[in-house]
Amino acid sequence: MKRWLNPRSALGITLITAALVALPFVVAMGGQAWVRIVNFAILYIFLALGLNIVVGFAGLLDLGYIAFYAVGAYTWALLASPHFGLHWPIWAILPIGAGLACVAGVLLGSPTLKLRGDYLAIVTLGFGEIVRIFMNNLNAPVNITNGPQGITLIDPVAFGAFKFSGNSQIFGFTISGPQKYYFLLVALAVIVVIINLRLQNSRIGRAWQAIREDEIAAKAVGINTRNIKLLAFAMGASFGGVAGGIFAAMQGFVSPESFSLIESVMILAMVVLGGMGHIPGVILGAVLLTFLPEVLRYGVGPLQMAVFGKMLVDPESLRMLVFGLALVLVMRFKPAGLWPSPERKRELTGGA
């Protein structure tokens, strides 16, 4: 409240804001594709911070997080596309998507929260797959999700007549669709960062941490551990639902393929690799893990040509190889993540 208005922070905030505003225009010099990648990075920040509530704050290993993203995405796709001929506005769909994801979170959470660690991870993993398979098969006998073909021509985000797809003119500037989404996503990401910070330093945030530290002691001081864990699941799931909605609108297309296990694993990797429970770390993890594969995609091919004069390894395979190696190295040498919270660092190094 009082502290962040001192001159240094004010300068910092101004610089960050300026950088954030300039970013989509600078990046666009390399092509709109890069703006889209930046957008995905922000969407992943959003997702990772949602998962951070479950994994980082409450310490519940969730390997099916993408299911909530899928619920949000399909909610948008079904309520705003020619598939059912519905074109509901954003202020209706986004809360419905978040709400349904939240319900899904509670449905998954209530029977499973007695499980811990690995067991919980396996059940959530199964749940994620079940949701994907549902989306894949709910095209018969009644066609709800259109099966593996997915749903196309999904409405973009729009506020009244202002659409986020295609170019528009603002103050004589031309601003592209991806650039518009960029600003929407940044706004959402800022909100989710603030919510994360506020939750962390709240009565509920402390209860989550207490459960993570010692569940029996937490019970003994009167924390209803079951409900408080469910709350973490529900909160995380709602964020996933919102992110999914924006994803569907931004892409204009959803299919079950986008919600595979590897996506859950990636988001979890962002949280863990960045620094579990530490908000700046999680953001760093999301940004790195979005960009690294893309940089490698564009980088490894030309690099091989330059060094060996021919393609030795298929760039796509090499990309995943380098990526996997990077993950292993980080976990080997920085087990608390690249940018862990001070406490967690102490926890893992054992020092004072």
Binding site: I204, A210, E213, A220, V221
Partner: protein, 252 residues
């Protein structure tokens, strides 16, 4: 003064081990009640049943006139039963202050929405939580350790912190499981003063302790367990002279 806690034929076994055999006892409002017995007598098991961590196989508890629900630790805390653990269970990577703040959970209300919106009520409650936690650290005399991680505190301070955390739940009955274990004479004396102070401030105390001198000096009444069964429940002067107790415990 009436009975605050009434245990009625509480039984608990682990496989063939009868950890508690129909233990009945009653603790009066405002007293310091000692629970002693040799190792493995079932004292900690009694605590665990009372605080809802174990479900008794028979019998039950009545607390200030209404039955306690089995298997609901958070409800026991809400009803006003707080405890410490024989093998200290703090939130190791939280600061001393945060540990006590967690203890306020059950007496405060702020939810997710309040926290996200930072409503006035939430901010005021948060300030009150912090203030109360600071006061409790002061009460157990570790206010200078407020910002240290719990795991970095000395053994004695950890025991004190655990008591402060338990007090933060505003208990009517405070259950201490061997609070003096591992303490030297000075620390034990300080602990004794602390416990007397807590009682004076209106909290009833149930104390498990191996230090017989401490128990006999501090407690108004003492119960002795042996092999899960209640041997005697009486004032220290009587208990000390009881032949069965001397055989089972004191004489050994």
């Amino acid at each position: 003064m009436g009975a605050l806690l009434e245990a009625r034929a509480v039984a608990k076994h682990f496989g063939g081990v009868k950890a508690l055999r129909d233990v009945s006892l009653s603790i009066r409002e405002g007293e310091i009640y000692g629970l002693i017995g040799p190792n493995g007598a079932g004292k900690t098991t009694f605590f665990n049943c009372l605080t809802g961590l174990y479900v008794p196989d028979g019998g039950g508890f009545e607390f200030s006139g209404a039955p306690l629900q089995a298997n609901a630790p958070h409800q026991a805390a809400e009803r006003g039963i707080a405890r410490t653990f024989q093998n200290i269970r703090l939130f190791a990577n939280m600061t001393a202050l945060e540990n006590v703040m967690v203890g306020r959970h059950v007496r405060t209300r702020a939810g997710v929405l309040g926290a996200m919106l930072q409503t006035r009520a939430t901010r005021e409650e948060e300030a009150a939580i912090r203030q109360r936690a600071e006061a409790l650290l002061h009460y157990v005399r570790i206010e200078d350790k407020a910002d240290d991680l719990a795991k970095n505190l000395s053994y004695g301070d950890q025991r004190r912190l655990e008591i402060a955390r338990a007090l933060a739940t505003e208990p009517r009955l405070l259950c201490l499981d061997e609070p003096a274990a591992g303490m030297n004479a000075t620390e034990t004396e300080e602990l004794r003063e602390l416990i007397e102070g807590i009682r004076k401030d209106g909290t009833t105390i149930l104390l498990i302790e191996h230090d017989v001198k401490l128990v006999m000096g501090l407690c108004d009444r003492v119960a002795v367990l042996d092999y899960g069964a209640l041997v005697i429940e009486d004032v220290p002067a009587v208990v000390q002279k009881d032949q069965r107790v001397i055989e089972a415990y004191l004489g050994a």
